[in-house]
Symmetry: none
Subunit: 196 residues, 4 copies
C-alpha cells in the first residue's frame, strides 16, 4: 500500500534535501534561500509554495531529523532484551547514523540557537525514553540500581561529547571501546581490563 507521491511532494522533498545539505554545511544563518532553491533546482518563488519562511523549513527539517535519529536508534534496539545490549546498540546506532549524516547532527545542535524549543523537545524526548529504559532494567535487576536521571546525564553527555569530537571534529565513528567499557563499569562495577 505505497503512498503515491505527487509532483509537489517530490519538489518538497528536493527542497528539504537541499536545505539539509546547505544548513548542515553553512549553518542556518549563513545559508540562503536562494542557495537552497538552486541546489534543489527550482525557482526562488517555488520555495514559498511549500514553505512559509526560511525558519519554517528549518523547523520542519529539525523535526524530521530528530524524529529520524530517534527512529533509527529505536529500530536498532527493537527486539533486544538485555539492557546493556540495548544501550550498546543504541549508542552505536546513534554514532553510525550521525556519522552517515553529519550535516543532520550539526543542524540539530544548531537548533539551540535558532529555535530553542525544538532543541529542548528533542533532548527531553530522548532523555525520557532513556530514563524509562533504565528504570525498567533496574526494576528487572538487569543493571545496578542508580539514580536514573544522573546516569542519563552522564551517559547522554558522554555520547554528545564523543559525537562532537569524533563525528564532527574528526569525521569518524567513535570507537565502541570507551562507552561500552564505561557502561560495564557503571552498571556492573566491572573495571576495564588493563590496557583498554
Amino acid at each position: 500500500m505505497s503512498v503515491k507521491l505527487t509532483k509537489g511532494d517530490i519538489t518538497r522533498q528536493r527542497l528539504l534535501g537541499a536545505a539539509e545539505e546547505i544548513f548542515g554545511r553553512k549553518g542556518y544563518y549563513n545559508a540562503t534561500v536562494v542557495e537552497i532553491t538552486m541546489r534543489a533546482e527550482v525557482a526562488q518563488g517555488t520555495f514559498y509554495v511549500y514553505f512559509q519562511s526560511k525558519l519554517d523549513i528549518y523547523c520542519d527539517l529539525v523535526r524530521q531529523l530528530t524524529h529520524e535519529v530517534r527512529r533509527e536508534i529505536q529500530k536498532r534496539v527493537t527486539g533486544l532484551e538485555n539492557r546493556l545490549d540495548i544501550e550498546r546498540e543504541g549508542f552505536r546506532a546513534f554514532f553510525d547514523y550521525v556519522h552517515e549524516n553529519r550535516n543532520l547532527y550539526r543542524i540539530i545542535r544548531e537548533a539551540e540557537f535558532v529555535e530553542n524549543e525544538l532543541f529542548i523537545d528533542h533532548y527531553r524526548t530522548i532523555a525520557k525514553g532513556y530514563i524509562a529504559g533504565l528504570q525498567k532494567a533496574m526494576a528487572k535487576k538487569q543493571i545496578r540500581a542508580l539514580d536514573p536521571e544522573t546516569v542519563a546525564y552522564c551517559l547522554m553527555g558522554m555520547g554528545e561529547f564523543m559525537g562532537m569530537r569524533w563525528v564532527l571534529w574528526e569525521n569518524k565513528t567513535p570507537p565502541a571501546k570507551g562507552f561500552e567499557a564505561m557502561m560495564d563499569f557503571i552498571y556492573y562495577g566491572i573495571a576495564p581490563a588493563k590496557g583498554d
Copy 2:
C-alpha cells in the same frame, strides 16, 4: 598599584560588556552592532575604533570568556589535594560561574556555529587539563585507575548536560547531588544510597 585605565580602555570595556549582554541574549546572528553601541551608550562609529568587525569583537569576547571560565575553576581548586575534592569543587565552580554569567555560557556554546576554532580550542584545553589531573590522581592511587579519556568524556559530558538543562533551560545551579554521587561511584565504586 592599580593600573591606570585610559578613556579608551573604558570605552572598550563598555563595548565588550554590552556585547556580552546582547550576544548572550539574542545570539550572534540576531545581535546587531547598532544594538551593542546603543547599550554601551556610544555612537556607531565608536565601535569600529575598537574592533574591526562584529566577528572581531565576538572572537575577543569568546577568548576572554573561555579564559575566565577556566581561570575561575582553576582558582577554586587551587590548593586542594584530593582528586575528588578537586573535581567536586571544579564542577561547582563551573556551575556557579556560568549560572552567575548565563550569557557567557550561551556565547561560548554558540561559538561552535560562528567561529568553530575558538570552540574547539576551549574544549581541548579544558579536556587536556582534566585528563592530566585524572592521570596524576590515578598515579597517586587517589582514585581508581580507568581510561582517563573515557572518564573525561563521561564527566565533562555530564557537566555540559547538567549545565544545559539546569543553567540554560531552568536558570538554576544544578544540584550537587548528582555529579558528586556519580564521582564517588566511578572512582570508588560507592553506589549512591537509596533515596538519593
Copy 3:
C-alpha cells in the same frame, strides 16, 4: 529578425543607461548606487540582481563604451581607401561621437583612476589599430614614411587634447580645421595656408 529582449534585459539596460548618466555627470566616486537605481526607476536591490557591485557596473560600462567608440570610428572609416580620408573621417567620427555622448568620454577618461587596466586596454587597442593603419599607408606610399609610433603619439595626443578642451570644457565639436591641416602638413609637407 529582432532579438527578443526579456524583461530582465530591459532592466539591465535601464541600469546601464542610468549609470552612464550619473557616472558621467558626477564621476565614479561621487555617484551612488541609490542614485543610479532612482534614475533607472527600480529598487535598490534590483541593482544587485544585475551587477555584483558598483565597480562591476562601472567596468561593464567602460568596456561597452570603449567598444562603442572604436566601433563607431570603424564604421565611419570603413570603405575609405586613402589614408588621409581615413584619418580625417576617423577623428571627426571620434569628436562627433564623444560630443554626442560627452558623459561617455568622461567615464572612459576617469577609468584611469578607477580601474586602470580598462583604461590601458582601451588606449593600447586604439593605438595598435592606428599604427597598423599608418604602416599600411606608408607601405603603399599614400603618406610620407615616418616612425609610426611617434606619429601616433602626436596625433592621438592632439585628438585627446582637442577632445578635452572642445568637447569637455566647451561642449563643442572641435573645428576640423586644426587637425586636418596638421595631417596635410605632417604627411605631405603642405604647410597651412596663411590665415588658416
Copy 4:
C-alpha cells in the same frame, strides 16, 4: 636671507608630503585623512589645524605641484635662445621631473575628476606660455609659421601621451628621439632619417 620655518610650518610640510605620497599612490578618493596623518606622524586632529578639509589639502597640493612643474620647466629653459632648444629642453625637463615625481603627475591628472578648475587652470597656463613662445619664435622666423594653437594641441598632446605611457605605465623616462624628431620635422620639414 633664509626664511625661518616655524614648528607649525614644518608640520604643514610633513602633511603635504604625506598627502602627495598617499594621493599619488591611491588616488584622491581612496586616500584617507587618517592615512595621511599616520604617514606624517601627527594626530588626526592636527590635520584640521592646518587644513580645512581633505579637499582643501588636495587643492593646495595641486596648486603647489602644478606650479612646481611649470617652474621646473621654466628653470631649465631659461637662457636658451633657440626655439628648438627651448622645446627640447622643456619636454625633457617635463619628463624628467614627472619621472622623478610620478605621484605628482598622477595627482595632477586626477584633478580633472576632483576639482576640475585646477586642472583647467594648469593646462591653460601651460598652453598660454607655450603658444606665446611659439609666436615669438615664429615672429623671429626661428621656426616655420604655423597656427600656434594647432601646434600646441599636437605637441602638448604628444607630451601627455608619452608621459602617460612611458612614465605612468612603464615607469621610465620617454626616449628623446620621438619628440625631437617630430619637432625638427614640424618646424623645419626635416623628415627623420631612415632607421630612426
